[in-house]
Amino acid sequence: MKSVAVPTVFIIDDDRGMRQAVQDLVESIGLRAESFATGQEFLSKQPTSNPSCLVLDVRLPQMSGLDFQRRLTEIGMQIPIIFITAHGDVPMSVRALKSGAVEFLTKPFRDQDLLDAIQQALQRDCAEREQQAEVHELHGRYEALTAREREVMGLVVSGMLNKQIASEIGASEATVKIHRGNLMQKMQAGSLIELVRMADNLKLVLRK
């Protein structure tokens, strides 16, 4: 974990009393909290780089909480969500959880349930962010490779031997060895296995 910033809990509920109460409860355990009346309000705010989660009311005036969840996925904003609702039903909660919600709580809820869910959501967000950071780092390294090195890397992680790669790209085996050594160094991969894992994280589209 590179960042040690205080995690933030975002709250979206059209009911002012409710969102203040939740914010108050979150703050009482020493977390940061920010509340919004609508999803739009939340989106218009600068996203934070700190670990965070979202406590989302299902019933919202313009766009329902479930629709808003989908919307966030669409725009690539990954944030763990805890749904709260005054009258939820089973199909609604199933749908929410399938779409990746951490928890689905019915108002009035036990404070500990909400706080546990928030902790879980924040942990998930931390892990998510770590992975994101790693992929980002790998991506930087990968970007630093030459076109030839990227080509060779692709063939190496597909399991080809140097000789095969040489014949594939129409170069000598010695040349392949040099490319291979360079890219291993640039990718900071200590072994072939490590390189394969990196390629996996980078979701490289491998030929063949």
Partner: protein, 713 residues
Amino acid sequence: MQEIKDRATQSGMDLDVEHRILLPDGAIKYLHAVAHAGRDSSGNVEYMGVVTDITERKRAEEERRTLSRDLQESNARLEEAQRVAHVGYWEWDLETGEVIWSDETYRIFGLKPQERPMDLATVREMVHPEDREALYRGVDVEIDAGVHPVAEFQIVTPTGQVRTVRAITSKLWGAMSDDPDNESSGKARRLFGTVQDITEIKRAEEAHHTLSRDLQESNARLEEAQRVAHIGHYEWNLIENCVTWSEELYRIYGLPPQKGTIDAATVLEMIHPEDREYVFREAEETIRSGIHSKAEHRIVRPDGEVRFIQGLGTVKRDASGRAYEMFGTGQDITDRKLAEQALRRSQFYLSEGERLAHMGSWACNLVTREIFHSSDENAHMYGFDPSQGPISFDSYYNTIFPEDERVLRPKLENAISSEADYDVEFRIRRSDGVIRWLRGIGHHDPSQEIGEYVGITMDITERKRAEEERERLRQLEADLARINRVNMMGELAAALAHEIKQPIAASITSANALRRWLAHDPPDLERAQATATRIEQDANRAAAVINSLQSFYRTGTPAERHIVDLKEIIGEMTVLLRVEADRHSIKIHPELEADMPKILANRVQLQQVFMNLMLNAIEAMKDTGGELTIKSHANPEDRLIVSISDTGIGLPAENAEQIFDPFHTTKPQGTGMGLTITRSIVESYGGRVWATPNQVAGATFHFMLPGEPEAHL
């Protein structure tokens, strides 16, 4: 003679004898010899006498004797003849008035022969009173005119028997009629006559008269009957092959009646050409087999008119079995034939009409289960084929749906017992499994036998299906309306729940937060304070929602209150719910006090109250039917109490008060809000609503509205 002579010789007596002598010429003479006996000297008997020829005298004596015997025999024969011929004679001596009757005359008058002497007065007395005067009138004149009067008259015998007699009278001029001179100059001294009993003859004559009259009448009647019935008869002489016709038969054939015979060929000529062969064949068959023939054929009259004839014939045979005559009748059945054709035609039109109209006609006795008439279409409607012979009442009746029959039977029984008409609808299942709806209308004429009905059957399947479809759509509409109402209530409830749950949930969460602020070390009192304030706000907010909900009912009500007539509202609701009530066989009885006080209220709210309570009552009886009674009365404190009772399922045994709770319902589609709203409205007027179970069945809902209407008026 020798004996006499011997005896006389011995005794010396005188002789007086008659004897016959035979003369030498053979003639016989009678002699009378008388002799006196004396003695001669020697003492010998000596006779001296005379002999007289008495032949003449003897002959006269013999003649007289013969005459007398003949007279006696003649008299006896006369008597016998009189007796046998019932003819007697009589004599009447006009001078002495003496009357002499023969034995038979006595018998004719019913007396024993010569029972008593007769006189005129007795005879007169025995003549029938009706004939007495006529008998004696003018007899003298006729006698004097030399006529032998003949009189027929009735007599009455002593036993009261009436006899008819004929008397013929002639007159005698002298005692012995041996003085011819007296006849012309003197007066008749005696009347002589015969009397004959002609009772039997008269009777026979009368019988004969009657017979011949009857025969004539009978002939006349036959003629008349033939004329009226258009029946003539014929005798067909098979040997001569000629025919004798009765007058009517001539008329039937369009000919003037005439005597004599007609040639058989001429008769055949008059038969319609198309029927000739058939008639001829029938006649031959009858002559051959002896079976009575019966043939319907046409004839062509001289004027060309075609008539229908029904001919009957029978054959007479002689001892040898040879057919010599065919006797029979001919009847003009043209009118009947034409009527039959017309009837067939009208029956055809009728059955076609019935077929097109899906309507059958029938006549039957519902008590004896006899069918007098069932039109073809009627049979078709029940799925029967009328050409397969008559169909029994039970065959018809058994096609009726058992559950419909249970409803139908009492209706029919009721109609029969009250001799009334009926109009029923029912379903049948035909033998081919097809189900049809039929409507039967029966009419009973009270002059007919009990249970005798004529009527029609109509196939109303299409109409029923349309009705059912309409009913289904109506039901669907009602269901939709109900679901709509339920949905609306559901949404309202959900909205309310959300509105109230939000501030409460917020309060709870805030309370949790508050506890955590206080648990900080040191306790964060500032935050705790703020949180407590928010709890207060949220709780107030919840209360406000509830207040606003109440004011949803209350807001503005005082301004909307008007003087309303409860009777009018009950009337409106009754009309509005009648269809629903009828559908479940529920009767609505408003039993309202004549002078119900008017009250100040919101019309729509009161409509809602009645609607809820009446609908609940109907719901409670919808499976059973029953009665919905609305009663009202004002108590001394001017409180108006209205009761709505049903005869339905009644109240739940326990927690009867729960029925007024929100969302408490026993109905699958109920909102559970009806009674809650009702109570809310009634209580908004300061009134009260409650329910009591009925003694027999069902429940009664009461509501009381405080009055003081005068103050508001």
